[in-house]
C-alpha cells in the first residue's frame, strides 16, 4: 500500500475513534458510519438533536429539532478539504440558515485533515445559528440573512454546547422520613 494511503487510513481511524468518543459526551450528536463495510471509516451520517429552523413558505419559519448531515473524507483529504466536496445536508427539507441550501452546507474554510469533531462542532453552530454571517455575499440564503437581521434577539436558536456541560450534583443524606416531609413542606 502506498505510504500516503497508510497515512490517510491512520488519520481516518483516528477520526473514527475521536468522533465516536465525542458523540458519547454529547446529548445532541449521534454519529454513525454510512458504510461500515468499508476498510477505512470515511463516510458518516451526523444527526443533531437540537433546535434549528425550517422554512416551508416565505413567511413561515418554524423551529424543528432534528437535522442530518453527511460527512465524507475524500481521497486527498490530507491535503485539501472543502464544504462542497465533504458535506451534504440530508434533512429536514427547508432547513433555514444563511449557510445551508440543501444539499449544500458551508461551515467555513476547512484545512486538509480537519478533524471530524471540528466538523461536527461547526455544523452544530451553523444549524443552531450560533455561527452565522448576515452578509448576503457570504451566505447561501439571502432570505435567511434578511430574517436573521430582523430577529437578532432570538438568536441563537439553541445556545447549548455540543459537548455535554460539566455537571456536579451534591447529594445530602436525609436522616428520616419526617425531615424529608418537613423539607417538602
Amino acid at each position: 500500500m502506498p505510504e500516503h494511503n497508510i497515512i490517510r487510513e491512520r488519520f481516518l481511524r483516528r477520526q473514527y475513534r475521536e468522533g465516536m468518543a465525542f458523540a458519547k459526551e454529547s446529548d445532541i450528536l449521534a454519529l454513525r458510519l454510512a458504510s461500515p463495510q468499508d476498510e477505512a471509516p470515511w463516510r458518516y451520517v451526523a444527526g443533531f438533536r437540537c433546535r434549528g429552523l425550517v422554512q416551508f413558505t416565505p413567511r413561515d419559519v418554524e423551529v424543528t429539532d432534528y437535522f442530518e448531515v453527511g460527512i465524507r473524507y475524500p481521497h486527498n483529504c490530507m491535503n485539501r478539504m472543502d464544504s462542497l466536496s465533504c458535506l451534504a445536508f440530508l434533512g429536514p427539507p427547508g432547513a433555514f440558515s444563511p449557510h445551508i441550501r440543501a444539499p449544500f452546507v458551508c461551515i467555513g474554510r476547512l484545512r486538509g485533515g480537519t478533524p471530524l469533531v471540528e466538523i461536527c462542532l461547526r455544523l452544530f453552530e451553523v444549524i443552531t445559528w450560533q455561527r452565522f454571517s448576515l452578509l448576503e455575499t457570504r451566505s447561501l440564503s439571502r432570505e435567511a440573512c434578511r430574517w436573521g437581521r430582523a430577529h437578532l434577539a432570538e438568536l441563537p436558536v439553541d445556545a447549548r454546547p455540543l459537548r455535554r456541560r460539566d455537571f456536579s450534583l451534591e447529594v445530602e443524606e436525609v436522616e428520616d422520613a419526617e425531615a424529608m416531609e418537613g423539607g417538602a413542606a
Binding site: 497515512i7 474554510r109 453552530e125 455561527r131
Partner: protein
C-alpha cells in the same frame, strides 16, 4: 507611544524594578536576584516593554544542544507561558524573550508578571547555561523583593481579577466585542477573521489565572523531517516578531498539531491578544501549508542558513 505615557511607563518600570540601570536610550537592564549571571535587558518599543534575557552581559542566545527548531517548539509546552524562544532571521542561535504591554506597567501585578517572566528565563537558562545545574533549586523559587512568587497571588488592582478568581469567560469575551460559541463547559470558540472565512480560537480560564487562548494552525498525521525543520524555523522566526503569543507543537501518537497560544493575564488584554493571534494566523497559515512540500522546505531551510 505618547511622551506622557512613556514617562509614566519609565517611572512604573523603575518603581517595579529598583535595581534597573540605564544601558542606552529607552533601554535598561537588571540582574536576576536569584541568578546573578542572568541579566534581563528591558526596552520600550511602541506600546510594549520588551524583555530579553542576557547571560554574563551578552544577549542570551544559544545554539540548541541537540534540540532542533521543531524540538524547541515541542519544548515550548513546558516553558512558563510568559516567555518564549525565538530565532532572528538568518541566525542559528535562539534568543529568549518576553514582553508586557506598557498599560500593564501601572498595574499592581506588574512585579509578579516580571517575576513570572524571570522564572521563565531561569527555566530556559537552567537547560542551556552550564552553571544552572549547580545552583540550589530552592534559590530559584525566591520572589523578587516585594513581589509574590506567582501572579495569582498578586493583589488585584482596579479592573483586575481577584487572586484565584475564575473569570466568567463568556462575559469577558462578549465585553471585548468578539463573536463566540460555547464548545464545552468554560471553553469558548471565538471567531477570528482570517482569509476565506473564520477560524475558531479556543478561550478558557487558565489554571494559573487569567485566560488561555489558542488557535490551531495546522495538524499533520505524518510529516517528513525536512518539513519539520523548515516549519520549526519559520515559526521560531515568527515568534521573533510576535507580542505575547508563542507557537507550540504537540505530538500525540504520531499526529502533531501546531498551535499559536497566549496567556492573557488580565481581561483588558484579551482584545489585543485575539487581534494579534488573528494577524499571526493570517501571516503563517499559507506558509505552513507550502512548507509541507519537501523540496520547498529544503530550499527554505537552506536559505535560512539551516541545512537538513
Amino acid at each position: 507611544m505618547k511622551a506622557v505615557s512613556r514617562r509614566r511607563a519609565i517611572l512604573a518600570l523603575r518603581s517595579a524594578l529598583p535595581g534597573l540601570t540605564d544601558s542606552g536610550p529607552a533601554r535598561w537592564r537588571f540582574s536576576d536576584p536569584k541568578r546573578a549571571s542572568l541579566e534581563v535587558a528591558v526596552g520600550l518599543v511602541d506600546d510594549w516593554a520588551l524583555f530579553a534575557a542576557r547571560a554574563d552581559g551578552v544577549p542570551f542566545m544559544f545554539r540548541a544542544h541537540g534540540l532542533s527548531p521543531w524540538g524547541m517548539l515541542l519544548w515550548h509546552t513546558e516553558v512558563p507561558p510568559s516567555v518564549r524562544c525565538a530565532l532572528s532571521a538568518g541566525s542559528r542561535a535562539f534568543s529568549v524573550r518576553g514582553e508586557l504591554p506598557v498599560a500593564a506597567l501601572d498595574a499592581p501585578s506588574v512585579r509578579c508578571r516580571i517575576e513570572e517572566m524571570c522564572r521563565g528565563f531561569r527555566h530556559i537558562a537552567a537547560k542551556f547555561l552550564p552553571d544552572a545545574s549547580q545552583r540550589p533549586a530552592a534559590a530559584c523559587e525566591r520572589p523578587i523583593s516585594g513581589s509574590s512568587p506567582r501572579p495569582a497571588a498578586a493583589a488585584p488592582g482596579p479592573g483586575e481579577e481577584a487572586p484565584g478568581a475564575r473569570p466568567d469567560v463568556a462575559s469577558v469575551v462578549r465585553a471585548a466585542g468578539w463573536n463566540f460559541s460555547e464548545r464545552a463547559s468554560g471553553i469558548l470558540a471565538v471567531e477570528l477573521d482570517v482569509p476565506h472565512g473564520v477560524e475558531p480560537a479556543l478561550v478558557s480560564a487558565a489554571p494559573e489565572g487569567g485566560l488561555s487562548l489558542s488557535v490551531e494552525l495546522a495538524r499533520f498525521e505524518a510529516i517528513p523531517d525536512a518539513c519539520r525543520a523548515a516549519i520549526g524555523i519559520f515559526l521560531l522566526e515568527l515568534a521573533d516578531g510576535l507580542r505575547g503569543i508563542r507557537p507550540m507543537v504537540r505530538e500525540d501518537g504520531g499526529s502533531c498539531a501546531i498551535t499559536l497560544a497566549a496567556l492573557v493575564p488580565t481581561v483588558h488584554e484579551l482584545h489585543g491578544a485575539l487581534a494579534a493571534t488573528a494577524v499571526a494566523y493570517r501571516i503563517s497559515c499559507e506558509e505552513i501549508r507550502a512548507l509541507r512540500d519537501v523540496s520547498i522546505a529544503k530550499a527554505y531551510s537552506e536559505a535560512r542558513n539551516w541545512s537538513v
